[in-house]
């Protein structure tokens, strides 16, 4: 197979046969004997003091082995659950233990665990645990949380304010003095529930005689869990193994160390038996973290010609009841809110508050959907106010290709990109001018067509070690091991932990091209801390930019060693030997080649190696790039509103994305399909609704509306390719781009459709009733 055949090929995902035939092994499928089932008793009160827990009746129930409360286990927690800096090192936050100790702060908070010989026995007994609550008034509103006299969640913090910090650069006062147009707008990022197809689940097995702990968890971060389980449980890290088996999606919701990972391990250590906990869907909607839950207020300074001079955004972030491990990661939205545009000044303020709701943390895009929604709505608001076409407003403000690498006001440097090319192509695809004419025609007939643009950029590939250490509090890099076996087949071990992204396929493609070994003969392993060194796992569209490139670099190192061995075998000077397509030969005589199989044999029959060379054909890489990667693209949604019911129908959805080199275009398209669907979910359907009493009203899939294929149009996807200059493969990220781009495209389209009714904003989700009310609030009169 010639070089560069595999990278760029849409081969079928090798993960799929086992997944679609149901033979993949998720946590719940692991064979285990003598297993103990754990059920978590959860708070039914959003804010209350625990005045007593009576476990007597539960302990007496059939099949029950043990029941533990937070107070009983407190002395065994060597540390609280971890919290990282994530852009706000000065934030205040409380200690958070896996079980509530004397107070509960959200519905769904773990209060006690019941361990029994069967799941049904555990569930029956859990209903017999009597928790006495002294209810306190709940805080369920971001703004009310920090009003004077609001009930305080954490006495140790003193108020519900975690932080109030500035992210500013440039002279904002001058920008507003120069402004001919000033706009103020509130934008809502409603609370979302991530809903991975597989809820979480853990099996923990502490072997008393060996003092070794294994945790199988449906997680995105087995390597992080290993470190933190060791710290919290007081077990040497070398005695902890964490495995992420088949993981059915995460979307950020499995990015943190969770109470149940610690609780199963503790229980297993106490009982000397493996302990299993599987989250059910109802639990999943409360016990697994939520996303977004923010209010953004923005003031815009612009000129009549559509030039944006500066913006002054405030992000009010609802942390929920505690600060989750990456709970302030969404503040990244502030850092990248400048988007694809130049401006003179940026004056951002980020405020984080506690409320009596499920903690929030990363959810697909984490900060970038919020930033993109903000800046793309800003572009449309400016267009509306000035009368300049939204396309022209974007073109006028775009960072130009001549400006690349462009440094933003807040000091981030974009790696590459010509934002006009994706926009131009998307406009062509929808026939923008034709659509505008059609829109005008239809309006005359009382039909409301809307066109919405979103020309996003995205920061991903987290990241270079130095800036991520400074910003997040963790040095992030990519890791791989490439190991060619005796028979010439290869194993690739990666530090990323895929849970639907297809790394087993795409990274085999990467290694196949460098080594010239058929892709079928390359196995990719991941998600088990016992088989590789450290890894930084999978989130933030980071894996291919880091671990994927680390695979390339390790494979190159192996290739170089193979070439040296070949030179020795061919009795030629090293400099004369070339390696190509799985063979090495002296330049000019490809017929007298040694194959990778022959080289591999020699690598292990070490007597045949050059003097001084170590055996084996293996390389390890920790890859630390020089910058983040910055994919970009243009999405256009065309919608029609049913004027009588307010229902939105998406007529077309066009996306032109640039994620640099596409290793497997089909996998890229798959990520985009899912991503766009999820962003449309936020724009039209999804919202975690709490009532004033602090109860979640959308705690099942009956009420929390995730879109299905039947609710979505066929997406029309195209691509441009601008290889990233910061990694050898030229790849950027694509795992979150669809979600980041699509919500503003849809909302911009709906607002555009409703322009005749004087509508300037619709909050997400744009439900039919909400749209209908906006159209009819003035008795349906059009302007």
């Amino acid at each position: 197979m010639a070089i560069s055949q595999m990278v760029g090929a849409s081969i079928k995902r090798r993960e799929d046969p086992r997944l679609v035939t149901g033979t993949g092994s998720y946590v719940d499928d692991l064979p285990q004997t003598a297993i103990v089932h754990m059920v978590v008793v959860r708070s039914t009160d959003p804010h209350a003091r625990i005045t007593g827990i009576d476990t007597t009746r539960a302990k007496e129930a059939d099949g029950v082995i043990a029941v533990f409360t937070g107070k009983e286990l407190l002395s065994e927690f060597g540390a609280p659950l971890p919290v990282t800096d994530c852009f706000v090192p000065t934030k205040k936050y409380p200690k958070h233990y896996p079980l509530a100790i004397d107070k509960v702060r959200y519905v769904g908070e773990p209060v006690a665990i019941v361990l029994a010989s069967s799941l049904s026995a555990a569930q029956d007994a859990a209903e017999r645990v009597e928790v006495r609550y002294e209810s306190l008034p709940p805080v369920v509103d971001i703004e009310k949380a920090i009003e004077k006299g609001a009930p305080v969640l954490h006495d140790e913090v003193g108020s519900n304010l975690s932080y109030d910090v500035k992210f500013a650069a440039g002279d904002i006062e001058a920008a507003f003095r120069e402004a001919e147009v000033k706009i103020t707008q509130r934008l809502i990022q409603q609370r979302l529930i991530p809903i991975a197809v597989e809820p979480r689940g853990v099996v923990a097995d502490y072997r008393t005689w060996a003092r070794k702990l294994t945790i199988w968890s449906s997680t995105q971060i087995p390597h992080f869990v290993k470190v933190w389980a060791a710290v919290i449980l007081g077990i040497p890290e070398s005695d902890v193994r964490v495995v992420a088996p088949e993981v059915g999606g995460g979307f950020g919701s499995k990015i943190r160390v969770y109470p149940e990972e610690i609780l199963t391990a503790l229980a297993s250590r106490r009982l000397g038996r493996p302990v299993k906990w599987i989250e059910d869907r109802g639990e999943n909607t409360k016990a697994t973290h939520h996303g977004r839950s923010q209010i953004w207020d923005v003031e815009i300074a612009a000129k009549r010609d559509g030039t944006v001079l500066g913006i002054r955004p405030t992000q009010w972030l609802d942390l929920g009841a505690y600060c989750s491990q990456f709970g302030t990661f969404q503040v990244l939205g502030m850092l990248v809110a400048q988007g694809a545009y130049k401006m003179k000044a940026f004056d951002g303020r980020a405020v984080g508050v506690f409320t009596n709701r499920t903690p929030t943390d990363a959810y697909r895009g984490a900060g970038r959907p919020e930033a993109t929604y903000l800046i793309e709505r800003v572009m449309d608001l400016v267009a509306r106010e000035t009368g300049v076409d939204p396309v022209e407003v974007r073109r006028k403000n775009f960072v130009r290709v001549e400006d690349q690498p462009f440094t933003t006001l807040l000091g981030l440097t974009y790696d590459s990109g010509d934002y006009r090319i994706t926009l131009d192509r998307a406009l062509q695809m929808v026939d923008y001018q034709g659509l505008r004419r059609e829109q005008a025609e239809k309006r005359k007939q009382g039909k409301y067509l809307g066109i919405g643009l979103s020309t996003y950029i995205e920061i991903c590939g987290l990241g270079p070690a130095v800036p991520t250490q400074a910003a997040v509090g963790v040095s992030l890099w990519g890791m791989s091991v490439v190991n060619v076996h005796f028979t010439g087949k290869a194993t690739v071990i990666i530090g990323s932990s895929p849970h639907g992204q297809g790394h087993e396929t795409t990274y085999a493609q990467v290694a196949a091209d460098v080594l010239g070994i058929p892709v079928e003969d390359i196995d990719v392993q991941h998600g088990d801390t016992a088989i590789g060194p450290m890894g930084m796992d999978t989130y933030g569209s980071r894996s291919t930019a880091l671990d994927g490139n680390a695979v390339h670099i390790s494979a190159m190192k192996v290739q170089e060693k193979a070439r040296k061995i070949a030179a020795h075998l061919l009795e030629a000077a090293e400099g004369d030997v070339v390696y190509e397509g799985g063979k090495a030969y002296v330049k000019g005589t490809p017929s007298k080649a040694v194959t990778i199989q022959e080289i591999a044999v020699a690598a292990f029959q070490t007597s045949r190696l050059p003097k001084g060379m170590e055996g084996g054909l293996e390389a390890t890489t920790f890859f630390d790039p020089t910058n983040f990667v910055w994919p970009f693209g243009a999405h256009i949604a065309v919608v029609e509103i049913d004027a009588e019911t307010g229902a939105t129908r998406i007529l077309r959805y066009v996306a032109v994305d640039d994620c640099g080199t596409r290793i497997n275009p089909m996998v890229v398209d798959g990520q985009l399909h899912g991503g766009i669907a999820q962003g449309i979910g936020q724009a039209l359907f999804e919202e975690a609704v709490y009532d004033e009493a602090g109860q979640l009203r959308t705690g099942s899939l009956l009420d929390y509306l995730v879109p299905t294929a039947a609710d979505l149009p066929s997406f029309e996807l195209e691509a441009t390719i601008t290889p990233s200059p910061v990694n050898p493969l030229g790849t950027k990220g694509i795992g979150e781009a669809g979600t980041i781009a699509s919500s503003p495209a849809i909302i911009n389209a709906i607002v555009d459709a409703l322009a005749p009714f004087g509508v300037k904003d619709v909050s997400m989700p744009a439900t039919p009733e909400k749209v209908w009310q906006l159209m009819h609030r003035n008795g349906g009169t059009k302007r």
């Binding site: 029956d124 009956l702 009420d703 879109p707 209908w772």
Partner: protein, 286 residues
């Protein structure tokens, strides 16, 4: 998501099934397709200690025409109803409604007897049965009785059935020629329960509406008839203006709920829009 413990029997005949119900009293529940009952049991919102599975009683799954009636066995599934040639021809309202229930899995398992007995105000069949003046044949320890649809649906999840009674058959008078129907359902996603839905059956003779029946889903604690619309249109012309004026009365006498999917006002408005659209759709064929 595990039901509380329960016992289970599978009777082979209706009398056996009734006998089991009598024996177990209030503790027992009939199990048909299980697509309403089992979700409730998994959430432990329903905790019967005894299930009488009627799914394997023979002669309860049929759709046939006999003496001026269409007779549907209680175990006919939503799928059977959706694809029945007889119903598509004679009662497109019912087959059309079946096609809009849930997703294929739900339609393959759910039964019309279960959907009726469950008396969910957001269920799709109840409003259809009401509009079609259906009759439910019910067996119990005292023998058989017939209950008219208008008496059958009492309140949210409450029917006129006694705990030891089983719906055996649903009977609908075969509509005369010139009579046809449609079911228009408005929901946020394609597979959702209705926010509001309208079941319309209209008999047109010449240019006049000889008869009209409108059933409403989601407009109260049970399915309702839009009698204002029916009065306004019965015996009148089937012109656009007539239909428009009549449809405006669709929400009269209703008491629509407030929930996450819609306010009472919005539901009233939807009832009018859907009624008008249903009537326009039916009369456009004439």
């Amino acid at each position: 998501m595990i039901p509380a413990a329960f016992d289970y029997v599978v009777p082979r005949t209706l009398p056996e099934a009734v006998a089991e119900l009598v024996k177990r009293g209030q503790e027992a529940k009939v199990l048909a397709g299980g697509h309403s009952l089992i979700p409730l049991m998994k959430l432990r919102l329903s905790t019967p200690s005894f299930l009488v599975d009627i799914g394997r009683i023979s002669n309860l799954n049929y759709i046939r025409e006999e003496d001026g009636h269409v007779a549907i066995g209680a175990l006919a599934t939503h799928h059977d109803i959706e694809f029945s040639d007889l119903l598509k021809k004679k009662l497109p309202l019912l087959s059309g409604a079946a096609a809009q229930i849930g997703d294929p899995q739900v339609r393959n398992r759910g039964t019309i007897g279960g959907a009726a007995s469950h008396a969910d105000p957001f269920g799709d069949f109840p409003a259809c049965l009401l509009a079609l003046d259906a009759e439910l044949k019910v067996v119990g320890p005292k023998g058989e009785r017939n209950i008219a649809a208008r008496d059958f649906f009492v309140d949210t999840f409450t029917s006129a059935l006694e705990p030891d009674e089983i719906v055996r058959e649903i009977r609908i008078a075969t509509p005369p020629t010139g009579s046809t129907g449609t079911y228009l359902k408005f929901s946020r996603r394609s597979q959702d329960w209705a926010i509001v839905a309208v079941a319309a059956q209209v008999t047109v003779s010449g240019h006049n509406v000889a008869n009209v029946a409108i059933g409403l889903t989601g407009m109260g604690s049970r399915p309702l008839r839009a009698s204002g619309v029916e009065q306004a249109l019965r015996g009148k012309g089937a012109h656009d203006e007539d239909i428009r004026a009549a449809a405006e009365r669709a929400a009269e006498g209703t008491d629509p709920p407030q929930d996450l999917n819609g306010s009472p006002d919005y539901r009233r408005h939807l009832a009018q829009v859907l009624t008008r659209r249903a009537l326009e759709q039916i009369t456009a064929h004439h």
